[in-house]
């Protein structure tokens, strides 16, 4: 794929991934077929900042986990009043990394 396109993608979507994953993503994208560009451009990644806000406001109801697609963990969190309040607090610090991990898993379906 064209270097300019790849760099543009990383500039606009870099915040959705862990910084240590960006060089790998760049390498993979450069070796990717041009026909996949439209698929990558139209992918809707979850914003880690939005996840954090939701986690702070409604984390004890498990909504943050539902939003990022962790339905099972969301139900677990909902049934336990946010893991007795402890899990809800832990997720304030973990949810951004979990969101980026989910985004990476989504991108990997196209990259590999």
């Amino acid at each position: 794929m064209d270097t300019q396109k790849v760099d543009m993608f990383l500039m606009t979507s870099g915040k959705f991934f862990e910084s240590n994953q960006l060089p790998i993503i760049r390498d993979r994208l450069l070796n990717l077929d041009e026909s996949k560009w439209i698929v990558i451009q139209t992918m809707q990644f979850k914003d880690p900042t939005t996840s954090l806000i939701i986690s702070i406001l409604a984390g004890s109801l498990g909504i943050d986990r539902f939003i990022i697609g962790d339905t099972g963990l969301g139900i677990g969190k909902l049934l336990t009043c946010g893991g007795f309040g402890i899990w809800a607090i832990i997720d304030w610090f973990m949810i951004q990394a979990a969101t980026r991990e989910k985004n990476m898993a989504m991108l990997q379906q196209v990259l590999y």
Partner: protein, 132 residues
């Protein structure tokens, strides 16, 4: 989520949940660890689950259902899932993990997710009206 992480998390939650169930009756009346309840003063959708589970394990199924139906659900499904999880860990099979993954896919379907969301909302409104 990898199977190792799933079984690890499930084991930790099972131990914490069992400890909580055994010790919660010794805590002061009205004390709750629920962040939502402590911040807003309103019960959350799952408030009353512990009381419901206590009623369930003492044989009062009707009372368990009245306090919070989620407690009855956890009381029925919890021990069964726990037994299968222990069997999986001992035998090296991944039945519970596979069921979890397929269950997640089913629950992500919009009609099912919407229905369950509405049921939870109705249960929440009922919790508030009961003043849990």
């Amino acid at each position: 989520m990898s199977s190792g992480k799933f079984y690890g998390l499930f084991s930790v939650f099972s131990v914490i949940g069992t400890c909580w169930l055994l010790t919660s009756s010794f805590l002061p009346e009205g004390w709750t660890p629920c962040l939502f309840h402590n911040l807003t003063g309103w019960p959350c959708p799952s408030c009353g689950t512990t009381r419901s589970l206590h009623a369930f394990f003492s044989g009062s199924l009707g009372q368990s259902l009245f306090i919070n139906p989620l407690g009855l659900l956890v009381g029925l499904a919890g021990p069964m899932i726990l037994a299968f999880t222990i069997a999986d860990i001992l035998s090296g099979k991944q039945r519970v993990y596979k069921a979890y993954l397929s269950g997640e896919q089913i629950l992500k379907q919009p009609p099912i997710a919407l229905t369950l969301g509405l049921v939870m909302l109705a249960n929440w409104i009922w919790n508030i009206s009961k003043g849990l």
